[in-house]
Point group: C2
């Protein structure tokens, strides 16, 4: 799962009609899995990868080989890069991740589809439970996950939300196989196999990680304005931030330094340009960025 932030928002590299994550066999002859992965992706896509992190290793039954004697092991990774480089061979394209998870983008307020589509269908699912105990648990979980009745929205619960929707049979992938779906799936583009689940895991990990490690900078150009940085964090977390407080937090933590230059081309007052202070990585244990949420 290769992530970049383009002018279209946070995006992932896809293959095959944009419905699959890039994948390939283990490369032999590399020092480690990570270095093999890095070389493979850079060869295949022409993208220099910045940060790489292992997500999860699967070997579940729906991945068991035909003879049922050999497991297929899949190791999923999250990688960050800058989107600028050329697109490389066809069949590979950047796709906005909110095309797959439209309910995860709360930058323009809680998306109407949550109240209009997800809530009634999840509640219907809860009411379909056989006993009251289970009904209450399902309603409780849905409320906590989607921020209903008094619960605040928590942008990190990407995977939990996906799993609840899957369990409720609202996700297209859950309608495949033996029992084909009896109703329409909710909006959001489906993916091959369990790739959308891996994507949800990756988004959740990234939303969590930006708060305690300065990984955002892997997605930024070498030099940027504070507003560009804020827009990137907002795009990843799916939430709007409070500008003045955001700037203060960044500068307090000494994560960035001024280059001395300012932007010239834009509307409005020219902004100071900053670069990431790589030195902080040695100086101390760096926490990432708190999210000073904006109430709007």
């Amino acid at each position: 799962m290769v992530v970049a932030v383009t002018d279209q928002g946070p995006s992932i590299l896809t293959v095959g009609q944009g419905s699959a994550l890039p994948s390939g066999p283990f490369e032999l002859g590399h020092r480690s899995l990570q270095s093999g992965l890095r070389a493979w992706v850079e060869e295949q896509t022409g993208h220099q990868l910045g940060y790489i992190e292992q997500l999860y290793t699967f070997a579940d039954s729906d991945r068991i080989g035909e003879q049922r004697q050999q497991r297929v092991i899949s190791i999923s990774y999250l990688a960050l890069t800058r989107a600028e480089q050329a697109a490389g061979p066809a069949q590979r394209a950047w796709r906005r991740w909110y095309d797959f998870f439209p309910w995860e983008d709360c930058r323009a307020g809680i998306p109407p589809m949550i109240g209009e589509i997800l809530q009634p269908r999840l509640l219907a699912w809860a009411d379909g439970a056989s006993n009251d105990q289970v009904k209450r648990e399902r309603r409780q979980r849905a409320a906590a996950g989607f921020g209903w009745d008094g619960h605040a929205w928590n942008e990190e619960l990407v995977l939990q939300r996906y799993e609840q929707l899957y369990e409720a049979g609202l996700i297209e992938e859950a309608m495949r196989g033996p029992r084909p779906g009896v109703s329409l799936p909710i909006p959001g583009i489906a993916m091959t196999a369990d790739h959308r689940r891996i994507l949800a895991t990756g988004i959740a990990r990234l939303r969590s990680k930006i708060k305690y490690r300065p990984v955002v900078f892997e997605l930024m150009p070498p030099v940027f304005t504070l507003l560009q940085l804020q827009r990137t964090v907002e795009a990843l977390s799916g939430r709007l931030l409070h500008k003045p407080n955001f700037r203060r937090l960044i500068e307090q933590q000494e994560l960035v330094e001024e280059t001395g230059e300012t932007t010239a081309d834009t509307v409005g007052r020219p902004a100071k340009l900053f670069r990431f202070r790589h030195a902080v990585l040695d100086e101390r244990v760096v926490s990432g960025m708190k999210l000073p949420l904006s109430r709007s």
Copy 2:
């Protein structure tokens, strides 16, 4: 890596003279890796596992098979259990984890060995660097990791500290292989292959996890006093906590409820007994426990 907290402190289940973590081949015929693992460990050791979490998947060159055509893939796990059950077959024993990492136990203050042994040898290693830039970086990293000159001790940096010591050639495992060690290793029991590295990863993960998930309770008996709970958290994190504030934090978060009983057998005033409120897991996203550090 199976963890329990015994009266000896936090311990791991070991095999083979207490210098290896339990390990085995993938089990076929299970729904998932986790359920296979759970069944395997319970059969082998007679311990019911509570929480299980994947740590990391390795397939590095020092694990490549003899013909160099087949990688060996190792998936490491962290599991929590209660220590009470019988020991099971011989060859398996609980070992305190601080026997392997004596510098990680700061409950009685920063251990003298850090200043007396680690600091001089790490500084000597730093000074052995070829140029001044590298020298400064090494000293900087050591200071940040071990809490020297103005840096606070951070109990989560278990893996970073281990890797620094390894890189500096002070760890017995680093002295194996082509270039046998030229000096004595520092205190701390060595383990088979890279098992001590896996252990460091697991300790770090657990120390981090208790802060944002209520996993401590997997290590507690069904009913416990707040002091027992505090001692367990202290044992895991390797730090002393402030009693009054600890109790308030626990009760504020409504993680526990009174059973109505009190202890009878102990010295001092009888303590109320508590149990974990499993209900919170549905109610809301539960954060674990902040660590109200004690200055002493």
